[in-house]
Amino acid sequence: MCRVCGCSATAGDNADARVAEPGAPQHHAHAPDRDHHHDHGHRHHHQHTAHGHDHGHDYRHDHRRGGVVRAPLNAVHAPGIGQARIIQVEQDILAENDRYAAANRARLKAAGIAALNLMSGPGAGKTTLLVRTIADLGPILPIAVIEGDQETSFDAERIRATGAATIQINTGRGCHLDAHMVGHAIDRLEPAPGSLLIIENVGNLVCPAGFDLGEGARVVLLSVTEGDDKPLKYPDMFHAADLLVVTKTDLMPYVAFDLERCIGFARRVNPGIDVLTVSATDGAGLDAWYDWLKRAAAAGGTTAPSPLRETVPAGR
């Protein structure tokens, strides 16, 4: 079920998620009461501008029990239909998310929009870095932001104060953004052609690693206060990222953080990962970060999608 509005076609299944309108707290009446129940047969109304998939809007659902569609359980064994049989399925569990991600990617590419999926644990400084980045880079490079958090629109308000176009997705109980939620957010945000779209994922070093959003590149932030061993503790995240940005370097004198050790660990799980170090407080390293962003924006939507599932080079 749709994480954003409760419609039936979706990648993930989180009936709680919703997209906040700019200046309005909620997408529609689902939130914030996540345990509500409403009659079935209703219809949802939302914009589907340039949306690449169909929805069955009057699909039944039940928000109280995880949003899974419950067909009537036919426990009656009529003669001839009680035979057990094997059905070959061979279907990737993430296939639906990947379809939405491909649609997002194609659409962003067509508009020349470079999209970044920004991930980290909570409190690594994603929003602070974005606020500083928009202030410094915004005048020469239009930046739009999709903010993901379980609750509140605090981060979107911080970004909006910079003047950048932003939209908040609240995932409710969800621990990550998925491609379908992001597709809805792009509908509403309508980032300008040629701009840079930064998708700030839910603060979490585990779950977001598994969900392609249709981004051109994945960036993981790690603050020096979190410790240099995180790349080995959370290998999936660092394996999935194209760029590691070590943040809060102004705090290095106060914490036991060995940068070389951290980079060594990151390259054990991902030999090709790029690394930058920044401090949004004293400005160290920001120029290199801005250069990286400008290069990503110049590549537009044609930035090579991050490899979620690597393949061995042919013939080897």
Partner: protein, 113 residues
Amino acid sequence: MHELSLCESVMRILYQEAEKHRFHRVKTVRLQLGALSCVAPEAIDFCFKAVSKGTLADGARLELLREPGAAWCASCGETVSIKERYDPCPTCGSYELHVSRGDELRVKDLEVE
């Protein structure tokens, strides 16, 4: 707990298959889980029980087929087996490994009636 949303995706696949193949009950679900996929088998087991309760898969047996991890080593040019993403090449000790197998997250087949 992304295992919860993965299990909800599994349930959607089950309902799609039920519509296609006209079955009413799922007795067994076999999932292929790569050793390097970002899921915890115990969490999948727990979440599946939770999301399948009261559905056509209520009480279904979940079989998890663990697929081993493999990678191509850029240093020695061999395909080698690995258990974790941070493992070095067992042949030459290099970390220049490109994962080639073990990422699977698939519904393989179902036993239904």
